[in-house]
Symmetry: D3
Subunit: 321 residues, 6 copies
């Protein structure tokens, strides 16, 4: 049962377009606040896009997702359960970053997340570009001492090599995570992959490390569609898991505001069903990345992001039941 | 057979981007025009958004829908029939409103619609926010003396309680319509509902009054999808019916320009099929609400609205055959 | 000398695109916070647009101005002085409103501002539409027991009569303020007025009550332009003053995002010079209104608004020196 | 004194965002309407952009200017006079066009305007691209039998040669008007010209025909600025005059939504002052061209256009006094 | 095996946002370049929209598609093959046009394409509006001496009659192509058709000439959906084929930026599957038309267009294997 | 006299909306092209924004300025001279960059510019963010062996300290240029400066090094305005000069699309006059920076940038006369 201190500001008390914007209108609780102890899941922003190769702008995603989350409510009709009444979630502000340096930002992320993990908090980070996930995974590895299972929604494999002499960028985090043994590829999965690729060689790391990737074709060619596709998904019961959601796994019609959109993607509904079907025993952390507000004039990308956050919070709740 | 006075202005006579904008380029016929007598269905605008709780702007919907309806044509390929050649439809202008008062606007709507009903006209109102539907239903009740069946497309249940001490707002019309016995909940249906809700209690009114709601899951989980879902829909043969279409029953990718968008909605195609499958003996009136042009930079929401209007006009034609 | 608790969050600590958005990145201090006592000027949002007659959307202005104010800094080059180091300013959140009722909102504003005045705080309210100013002025009158001088920047006179049976709307606050004896018209001034008007009769209230209005022609036809125009402005030394700034006094090229824009307006520079030239002994409160974010795709209107806020804070500082 | 039948629809009767859109909410009066006889000035749309060389879209200008003119009112503060109460103006709809052919459109324009002139109506045409002006001038010449004085606001000289084998395009109307002796160059003037040009030879026609052009430098380098520049303008007392206003004479900051914008242009205020200073005895017709709504997301270009229309209507009133 | 001279500029050499924009970052090779001889498929732009009946702007499509194609890569995940490594493709610039004349533009297109065909090049033209396809087909007929099979993706039948006395416009190319015997209707197909039509008579040409059209209903009502629909498509093995892809066959949610959008269209995924299933022995040429950048603020229409180009290039590769 | 090979593609040969986009439709000439030898001024893009502290996006400026420069022509009406006919200018493509590293990009810029200088080419670089100017200045210093005079248009001083441990960012290039003795502060000037600043200390470097800054007040408070302000500007006759133009010296109404806009800036006309008045004997290089296309929906910022480029090319011509 959630503590009253962790309930979203009611739309009756202040209309949803009013007030200082926090995620889901949750209270802003700093780490030195006594209430922080009672927190189950820390929601924070990660305003960084220094790792992108095409369109920048994801640095504004935390702010925009906060704004759009004003419309959020707590009871999930398909799951038939309430989130905010059952687990203690709050907005703890943004993780600081160095906009000009991926490496310095990694250090700040790792430090930020390590503090949370050491206080036994689960977390949902709203990025930011996909390079940042490596910082999360390093902190998780440091805490757990062993690799996690990665549940990775994306249009891209993110196993690409260094570019322009830069090892760390938004298309390489999976490669590094495997090389640094932060994730266990064999119990991990990628969802929403579709190409085009630079070449067949792009699949090499997946094959070598037995990292399973599933494509949009895999979802659509399953007779019965996404509902049956979900039945074939692995369960995540043995190892702690990290969920990384790149908004570009959605089709550009559902998520135009992203850095490197790819036509032919999943629908919001498909992604909802997949997230609702996941069986994760211990979701230690998650992130939502690559929402790029300057390219989102209709705000539907950020709005889809809010919905993904809601589904992820439900996954945390399930672990905490 | 339609009177020539009720045919849309041809694109040959004036290109579709030219001319003063009326719905479907239909003639603008005032109530004191002698031709008004021959009218079957009165199309009018209802430029009101004083009942919204989040994004205003629906007051500009009648104007924008008029503009986009310039592309409309009269022959429906799936239904294999023409509308404007078969029934007399015209644009009768806008219903006047008081932008600062829901209550005063209700009185104006009720008066406006009552006049139409007393002249035995059916009507399609292009709103405006969803609070306005109550005005329509009150006029309909006054005319018929008994409740109608409500066919309600929406993401939301619209049974919410008073807010900030205001009984009447765009999320409460169904509650009032039931309480004022304007609609018969047991022969009514809601389509496209999805949540999130504030809590499970939001479903109480539906349960108490046996008002059936169907969700996006209901559409998608039916084996065979929307085509089979349609087969299970009730028929509306006994009581007169009112159809209220909130554009937010569509997914934000299809209808970004609305006041309170909800991810995971229906597609335009699904909605077309549902509207094409409806069997309504006596459709007395209908409205299309919650198109919000300031949030519709690509104009696809208004364009979808035009298509919904076209389907609804086909439903009227069916009643008049 | 300002207390450290009232300094904006440094861009070095958190880049300007990061963090939860408050006005000028100032601390968010609630009224029950012990630091509230040390506050000189309370900055708050007033997210209301229920009084507009054309484009709604100003309800989103507080949120958007907070976002754009991230670029703000504290040292004014023309005035050669720092604000935040010299007076204690903070963001105290938003005043609650009832989006569907001007009257209920007036009560909430009056209560909110009265509390501030009773604690001897000066205030700057970021609205919201121009109907809200009446709420401020009522609270000010209640506190002072006598009318204030009004310094009113606007394209419009705002002395218009009731509309659609509604006394209170965004074009009528000056009329009510005079009638309720909240302002002293003879020591007040209107700046930026330009028309078109409905008719010459619109000027009647000004003439009757000796409320001076100055037009864009007055600024531009002064030989030497705005710099000399400023020399002719009255001083506000005898009575406490309230400054109300409607962003539409600016030309639409400088402030496109407003509810009722009027071509031929002032430039930002002219407004800066006028504000810098004002000699106000006791500025008791101020507001900035009619920024309408849905019509501000380039965000320059909100940005101009941030600059106006900065100038107004400098005016407060001058009173407090 | 204007007939009541020619007054704009009051904002009290129908809020300004409501109703079917006509210019200035004036009544729509067709040529076969008995009231047409009483008309002084016919306002019509000319939705054609088949003559452009860069950005098309001006075909949507009549519709967009109608929409924005909802904010218009009738009393001019600088001129201290009312328009709609003093002359009979109405919206007579759009002139039909052939979107794929300049020549066929010219024939339609000439026919349309000739009918008006033969009924002794003055006219203001809202275009459309600048090629269309030739159609107006041909009709005027046919009616008058002699050339008119041209008062031409533009960034461009519009004396350019045929392009791609096409004689008629939006940069050539002045050349044709001179060659066809539709205008008298020596009593004509061009205002707002600025370049860049293709070469010095572009000025040849002006020199040969003694067509005076004045540049932005001419306005700004006059000591005393635009107010003194106005004093040096010629008067138009001998010959009937036609006024052609290309919105691109304004700077792109004031009029971004145009087909071929040129930096360094006039301000709206300067243009207002010039229009207010014009002394025209017999303004037979006028047009406003090159507003391009698809490039006008803030709608300030169309809004400036509304203001220009208002000034031009005041010029007509002056002729009719 | 492709020549190195025909490989796209690598993102490693120049980041994808940098450099002068060509289609897919391919080399720009003029017809007089010695490397032109080795070319397999010529990609060119056709910046013409003089044939449209509603929204113009497609003239900017070649430029916008070039920009968005920067994100393109060469390996197709579903087809499991690389394009640019296997066939020689390059950007040969734009075909010149006369913006004010459909007929003159047809002559330029016919000449441009004839030169390519006479050098035995296949081609993919990026338009432009759909009137232009007739120019391509005329050149193809001249080269082959016999009609081709047409594979036509569109929401519209494009068999409409002359308009405003103009035979050639963007809704009439199929009618002309049949009448001029440029295509063989019986071995041709139309995909994505949906209406509304002006009337049932619009289908007359299809019936008379046995030109098969398939609708969105045909795709969706096939049990098994698009995957099974593909199985029923004809093969194109006997005659050379031309593929014409109008982006408006996609639903407006996937392709908002088009001249005459129609709700209820295909998804990008469906179109990908259909294109992947086509069995064409000799694809002689293809075009992509009706992308309208001024109406594409999210750029997803152009991006979908890039994907279609990629699929079409794969079809060319298949012919060349 | 310019070589024919260096003339812009005529709008008669290819309409201005057609063709592959180069700056001013000039020929694209690579450094290994024999014609490169004849070049006077090399125009190139510098697509880098890795040094920004607020809004990224300037990486897309070269591409967008190329697009908008299609409207450019060669004859300057105020200067009464032609550029492209008199000096040999061409687009040499983009300088390569490393999007994730300011330092690596500096090395690439320095190398790129050094090659040009060693071939005795003058250059105009279209950036990119303002951090890049340091790369240019380093190359210039290496070539000349002594500091240049800097003519610096900007809202900001760009003498700010390191941020987040990063020495090099877009607000620090002037500080580094002085420290590295790349520029001679005493013969340099800053134009358009306005604040707000972090504090008075921001002016320290200017004072210490006698680097003159002039503000918007300096321009506007000069009796006679900008025309007289120009008369007081220093001449640049002794030392070679570098001109660096940050688009944010313009007011946001003229240049909304920039990374850190500041209200109260210069007008395009003022900047034109200042640039026209500059007397520079040896302009060795120049850059235009901080145009940020994702924030420029009306494209007027890029268009203003094109005009600045044109003025700068005229300054080069003057040196070459």
């Amino acid at each position: 049962m959630a503590n009253d201190s962790f309930l979203p500001l009611s739309g009756r008390e202040m209309p949803r377009f009013g007030g200082i914007k926090t995620f889901f209108r949750l209270p802003y609780i700093k780490q030195d606040d006594p209430k922080f102890k009672e927190l189950d899941v820390a929601l924070f922003g990660l305003p960084f896009d220094g790792g992108v190769s095409y369109r920048p702008g994801a640095r504004f995603a935390p702010s925009k997702v906060r704004e759009l989350s004003s419309l959020g409510r707590g009871y999930h009709m398909s799951r038939k359960e309430s989130v905010f009444n059952n687990i203690n979630v709050s907005d703890i502000g943004d993780c600081s970053v160095v906009p000009l340096s991926v490496e310095k930002t990694y250090a700040l992320i790792e430090d930020h997340v390590s503090k949370l993990l050491n206080k036994n908090k689960r977390f949902l980070s709203v990025g930011g570009d996909h390079s940042t996930t490596l910082g999360h995974l390093r902190a998780v590895k440091k805490k757990l001492g062993k690799p996690v299972s990665l549940i990775h929604f994306d249009a891209h494999l993110d196993t690409y090599p260094a570019a322009w002499g830069c090892e760390y960028h938004h298309g390489a985090f999976v490669r590094h995570a495997i090389n640094e043994q932060l994730v266990d590829p064999e119990s991990s999965i990628q969802i929403g992959i579709r190409g085009p690729l630079a070449g067949q060689a792009d699949l090499k790391i997946n094959l070598e490390h037995k990292l399973k990737y599933t494509t949009v074709d895999d979802v659509r060619k399953t007779p019965g569609g996404v509902l049956d596709f979900c039945k074939d998904l692995p369960e995540f019961l043995d190892k702690p898991a990290f969920l990384s959601f790149d908004i570009d796994c959605l089709d550009p019609s559902y998520a135009p505001g992203t850095g490197t959109p790819v036509p032919g993607g999943l629908t919001t509904y498909e992604v909802q069903k997949i997230l609702q079907s996941l069986n994760i025993k211990n979701l230690i952390g998650a992130d939502l990345v690559e929402i790029c507000p300057p390219y989102d004039p209709t705000e539907i990308t950020a709005l889809a992001g809010v919905d993904i956050c809601f589904e992820i919070l439900c996954l945390f709740k399930k672990c905490l039941d």
